[in-house]
Subunit: 259 residues, 2 copies
């Protein structure tokens, strides 16, 4: 059975999802994006038609996938005729209920990964969180998800939000700490490359150990001389000093509480 | 030429350093640790003698390596007779001058990595930062470092402190964000494993891209609805909410400033 789908969105997530769906035998009929170039480019790669007008989105498909930023999801929904077909959104933070009233068949398919242009991602190992309004639709969504991933987990909207927050800490916030490190090194004429073995090992460690057990550094042992020394060095950057202090305190408190 | 060395310290760093030095042909004569078991165990692995008394540390060696926590370095120094042999400390945050008055031959050998028991580390790719009081000693330290690493960088104490701070952000603080993610997931009956593909990809990305360019997520686009939603979910955990807010603001400000 080859299911057909309309893809609403042409950003990083839509691109990666569209490509894996096509590769797994789904028929992508149409791509929508506000931006003509994005819609056209992705449609060409997926052998689909494209539109930049929500009113021109076709509904001769088995399901819709909305892969847009949260605000854009809310904006586009009222302009599309879904004809009661299954609508799936892919957001970690939007509840299922955001789709209420736009179709009687609704669900969520949330792949927990960071998607960037030009990076190949092995979809099979990405955890995909699914939710639906009915058992029948959940079973359909499960069969769709099972074609692209080996790790499908049913999670309601509240649980998905918590998963999304945990991902913000482990991905977006972690990346920002790398950015801070890079800016400190740059100021001192050093290249970010010198941190790469450390970053790799820090990550490899938590693949084997719980991060709580893996914690090292001055904060966990509350080494005040190092901490105060570092705060002194950051004195000209009050925001970084504040961040340093707050994270150090958080590390110390966390590890005191589990002793 | 086979140089001989006394190792002061028997923790994770001392263990990894001792093993790579022995493997590269150095002769480890003695291991010192306050803790008898640690001293004995490491000495056995390195085919060395051991002592738990600083006064019994021998000085019939070519150089000393002090691989202790910063406070312990300062405590042990006055009790040891170094007989003017080369003393090296391995700390990111202690200045070279901490060794002043204990020998006329002093230096630093700081390997930028996180060392844990039971994990194999490829020393060859670890950046090693060196410093010394004289050109002659720097050249000797360089020849020692070159036996264990392919990446040797001369850096003075001020620069090394900045490198150490950047490492605290990229390793210790990053690991703590993983710990926070793990605790949020646990509370929701979910396993930390579901974050592993995301963590791997976040790390792999910065091996290719500058982290500043790789930043994604609600904070960089200042998606207030997601941010406020998350802050609401963290309302029962004021410390995490504060951390979330501060990091989000920092991401936003950083990316505004480079636009």
């Amino acid at each position: 059975m080859s299911l057909s789908c309309v893809l609403i969105g042409a950003g990083n997530l839509a691109t990666h999802l569209g490509e894996v769906l096509k590769q797994k035998g789904f028929n992508i009929l149409q791509v929508y994006s506000r931006t003509q170039n994005s819609a056209k480019n992705l449609a060409e790669r997926l052998n689909a038609t494209f539109t930049t007008s929500p009113q021109s989105i076709i509904h001769s498909c088995d399901f819709f996938i909305i892969a847009l930023k949260d605000e854009a999801v809310k904006q586009v929904l009222p302009s599309v005729e879904f004809n009661n077909k299954l609508i799936l959104h892919c957001s970690g933070s939007l509840p299922l209920s955001v789709l209420n009233g736009f179709s009687e068949n609704t669900g969520v398919l949330y792949p927990l990964q960071t998607f960037s242009k030009g990076r190949n991602i092995d979809f099979a190992e990405i955890p995909v969180f699914i939710e639906s309004d009915s058992e029948k639709n959940l079973s359909l969504i499960n069969s769709i998800a099972a074609r692209i991933s080996n790790k499908i987990i049913v999670a309601d909207s509240e649980k998905r939000k918590q998963i999304h927050i945990s991902a913000v800490f482990a991905c977006n916030f972690v990346n920002h700490l790398y950015t801070i490190s890079e800016s400190i090194l740059k100021e001192n004429g050093l290249d970010f490359d010198i941190l790469k073995p450390l970053i790799k090992e820090t990550t490899n460690k938590v693949m084997k150990l719980s991060p709580g057990e893996a914690q090292t550094g001055p904060a966990v042992r509350f080494d005040e001389s190092v901490i105060n020394n570092h705060l002194g060095l950051l004195a000209g950057k009050p925001e970084l000093a504040e961040l340093y202090k707050l994270i150090s305190e958080s590390i110390y408190k966390f590890h005191q509480s589990i002793l």
